[in-house]
Symmetry: C2
Subunit: 435 residues, 2 copies
C-alpha cells in the first residue's frame, strides 16, 4: 500500500527531502511496499513551490490542507521556526499523523510536551536529522546500542565552530577571520550566533540526553558556553606547550553524584580520537558498558546529509505504517512524569588551563599561587617564557579543582590590582599529565 | 508476550549474550513487551553449562532440543565452526525459527544460500556482530543510510592486525614482536593466521559488500592480501619520507568499470581519518551520495562488544516477533538470482610505494626506471639516502599505474640480476602528492 506523505517547509532540507523521495523510488519501493508518494507539500513562500516544478495540486500555502487530508499518514515537518513547528506537530498528532522532523531546538525545548502528546495520540516522531545530520547516531544509540547502559557522550556537534577552530589552529586565523572564512565556505550563516554561543550544540546534546535517559533533561539545565571568549593565543600556547587541541565539546557524563550535561570549549590531548574530527565534520563518541566507546562521524550539516537522515526516517516510519504497527512499537522510551536532575556546573571538577596577564612586578606569581592554593586549586605546571619586548603571560595547568572554587580564586586574583586583563580559563576534558 | 529464545554455542560471545539477557531485563522489557526468556542453551561442552549456574532444564548438549521446542521462536547461533553453524541455521529456518548470528565466515561464504533459505522459510537473519562487533555498522548502512547509494567503504576491520601495526609504527616492534605483544594483550589468539593473512577482514568486507549490493558478492572474488609481507623498515621509511601511515584496509569501491572489493595493506596520509583508528579499534568509513562520508568506530572484538550487538539484534527481532511482523519486513534486500561481478585486481590502478634492494653498481637506477617506464609506471618521487656502512635501498612513490603492469615490471626488474632481494611494493589508498 502506497504511503502518502506531506512535507511542511521547503527550505534547504525540505527541498532536498522532496528531491530524494522523488528520485530514489527504486531504493524506497524496495523497503516500502507500494512506495511513498509525496501527496502535498506546503510552504508560506509560494515562490519556493514554483521553483520546484511540482505536479498540479501538490503545492499548498496552507498546512491545514495536509492535516485535513485523511490519506496522508506521515508528515515531514521541516520548518525552522520552533514555535510554528511545535504548533504544527501537535496538530499532526491530533489528526492521527506520524511525524518526522529535523528541528533540534524544538525537541530540546519541548521534549516532554511533544512525547506526551505523541503517546496520547498513538503517533510516532522520528528525528534522526536533528543531531549530526546524515550520521545515524540517534538510531545507533537507541537501537544499535539498545542493550547498553550509556554513561558518557562526548561530541563535536557543531560544524560551524569546528570549522572555525580548525582554521584557527591550522592557519593561525583570528576568531573574526575564522568566522568570515566559515561564511565564505558556506559553513556558517551570515548570523551564526547560535553556533558561536553554543546554543546549537546545547540543543543537540539535550536531544541526545533525552534519547539516553528515560526521564527528560530540560534544556535550561544544560550548561552552555560558546567559543566567543577564546583567543588565538590560547589555542597556540596550549598547542605549543602541552600539545592540546581545542574543541567545542558537548558532554553527557554520568557520575555517582548525578548527570553532567554541558557544552563548552575544551582542550583535548592531540592523540584523542575526537581531535581527529576536523573542519566542518561532527563526531559523537558514545560509551556503552558492553560495547565500549563507539564513535559516529560525518558531515553534521548540509542539504543532502540532512535529507539523507529525514528520508531514512520516512522510510522506516512508512514501513511501520504499512504493517500497521506505527505508534504500537515505541521509538523513544520516555517517562514524562519527571525530569533527570542535572548537576550544577559549579560543583563539577576539571583540570584547567589558565592564562594570567599580570603587571610586571616581583612576587606576582607567588601571590597568584597563594590565592589558588587558598581555594584548593593546585598547580600542575606553570610557564612564563619571556621574549624581548613582549608582554609575557603566565600560563598554568592545574590539577583537578572544583569549578566553583576556581572561579572564586580567579575573581579574587582579578581584583587584586596585579592583573591587566581578565584571566582566561579553559577546561581540559580528559585528565592529562603534562611532560 | 514473552519471546522464548535459544542460544547455541556458549563460548566467549554466547556466554556474554546469556549474561546480558539475564542481567538487563529492565532495558529489554521496555523494548520487548513481556520480555525475553532464555529457554534453552546448548553446547557440546557440558562443562561450560555447569560453569554458568543455569536453572535446571535450560542446558542441553543436543541442539535439536532447541529446534524441536515450538515455544522457541528465535535462536542465537554462536558457534564458531562454520560448517556446523550453516547446518544449524538451515535447520532453524526449516523449523520456522528466526536467527541471530555473529559468524562472518559463514555469511561471507554462504550468503546466497542462507538468504535464499531464509526467504523460503519466512525467517529473518540478523548479524550485526559479524562486522565491527559492538559498532552498529550493519544497521547504520542498511537503515540509517537507507536512502543513499553507497559507492565506497574503507575499513579497518581487523583489530588484531591493527594493534600489531600500531605497535610497529609507534614503538618500532618487528612483525614477530608485534604478534607476540598482541597475544599478550589478549588481542590475538595463539593462532592468529586468519587475522594476519587478511581472511578475517575479507570475510567482513564481503559481508558489507553483500549488505550494500543487492546481488551477492562471492567471497572467492574478494582480493585478499595480509600483512605478513610487511617489514618494519618500510613502515618506518614511508613514515619518515612521506608521512604515510600503514593500515590493513578493506575496501569496496564502485567505479564506472565495476566494483572493487579488496583487502591489503595500504599507506594513508597521516591526517586521514582512518589513520586515527589505532590499536585494537575498528573504523569503517562509508560514503553515501547524500550523506557524504560517515564513519563508524569502536572496539571490533571482545566478549561484551560482540554480545552488545547480538543482544541488540535479539531485541529487535523479538520486537518484530511480538508484533507478528518478523519475516514480513525484510531485513536484507538480497536478490539471490545473480552475482555482482567484482573487478580483477590486475586491472585496477594505484599509486605504489616501492623499495628496491639493489647491488651497488652504477646505472642501476636508470635501468630500473627504464623498465618501469616501459610498462607505463611513472615515478613521482625517488629517494636513495646513503648512510655509512648501510645497505641503501632505493625508495620510490609512483604515479597511478595498472597493477598488472606494475607486477610485470617488477618481475622483469627482479630477474635482471641487479636486485638482491625481492622488491617490496605497497599500495597507496588515496592519491597523494609528495612534497
Amino acid at each position: 500500500m502506497t504511503v502518502n506523505i506531506g512535507i511542511i517547509g521547503l527550505g534547504t532540507v525540505g527541498g532536498g527531502v522532496y528531491d530524494m523521495l522523488v528520485n530514489r523510488s527504486d531504493r524506497i519501493n524496495e523497503r516500502v511496499n507500494g512506495g511513498i508518494r509525496v501527496k502535498k507539500v506546503c510552504d508560506i513562500r509560494e515562490d519556493l513551490g514554483k521553483d520546484m516544478n511540482l505536479p498540479p495540486g501538490v503545492f499548498t500555502k496552507d498546512y491545514r490542507d495536509i492535516l485535513n487530508d485523511s490519506e496522508i499518514s506521515l508528515v515531514a515537518v521541516l520548518t525552522g521556526n520552533t514555535k510554528v513547528a511545535l504548533k504544527i506537530i501537535n496538530e499532526c498528532f491530533e489528526n492521527s499523523k506520524h511525524v518526522v522532523t529535523a528541528n533540534k531546538a524544538l525537541l530540546a525545548g519541548h521534549w516532554k510536551e511533544i512525547f506526551k502528546k505523541a503517546s496520547e495520540c498513538n503517533s510516532i516522531l522520528y528525528f534522526e536529522a536533528s543531531v549530526g545530520s546524515g550520521i545515524p547516531v540517534i538510531q545507533g544509540i537507541n537501537e544499535g546500542m539498545a542493550a547498553n547502559r550509556i554513561d558518557r557522550v562526548k561530541g563535536v556537534l557543531n560544524g560551524t565552530t569546528n570549522y572555525m577552530l580548525t582554521r584557527m589552529e591550522k592557519e593561525g586565523l583570528t576568531m573574526q577571520e575564522a568566522e568570515k572564512a566559515a561564511i565564505e565556505a558556506g559553513f556558517a550563516e551570515p548570523d551564526s550566533s547560535a553556533d558561536i554561543n553554543g546554543l546549537d550544540a546545547a540543543h543537540k546534546i539535550c536531544v541526545l540526553a533525552n534519547v539516553i535517559f528515560k526521564t527528560p533533561v530540560n534544556l535550561d539545565d544544560v550548561y552552555c558556553e560558546g567559543i566567543s571568549g577564546l583567543e588565538l593565543q590560547d589555542i597556540k600556547l596550549a598547542k605549543e606547550m602541552f600539545g592540546f587541541d581545542i574543541k567545542l565539546l558537548s558532554v553527557i557524563n554520568v557520575t555517582s553524584k548525578g548527570v553532567e550535561v554541558r557544552v563548552h570549549p575544551s582542550f583535548l590531548p592531540s592523540g584523542d580520537v575526537l581531535s581527529g574530527v576536523k573542519d566542518e565534520y561532527n563526531g559523537i563518541l558514545v560509551r556503552g558498558d558492553a560495547s565500549g566507546e563507539v564513535m559516529f562521524y560525518g558531515k553534521g550539516a548540509g542539504r543532502y546529509p540532512a535529507a539523507s537522515a529525514v528520508v531514512s526516517d520516512i522510510i522506516y516510519v512508512a514501513q511501520k505504517i504499512n504493517y500497521g504497527i506505527a505508534g504500537k512499537i515505541p521509538f523513544m522510551y520516555t517517562d514524562t512524569s519527571g525530569s533527570t536532575p542535572v548537576l550544577d556546573m559549579e560543583n563539577l571538577s576539571f583540570q584547567y588551563y589558565l592564562r594570567f596577564k599580570t603587571i610586571d612586578k616581583p612576587g606576582v606569581l607567588s601571590t597568584i599561587s597563594g590565592v589558588l592554593g587558598k581555594y584548593n586549586v593546585s598547580i600542575l605546571s606553570c610557564y612564563q617564557k619571556g621574549r624581548a619586548g613582549e608582554e609575557v603571560p603566565i600560563v598554568m595547568v592545574t590539577h583537578r579543582a572544583l569549578e566553583g572554587n576556581l572561579k572564586k580564586a580567579l575573581r579574587e586574583i582579578d581584583e587584586m590590582g596585579i592583573i591587566k586583563k581578565k584571566t582566561v580559563f579553559i577546561r581540559l576534558e580528559s585528565d592529562m599529565e603534562i611532560y
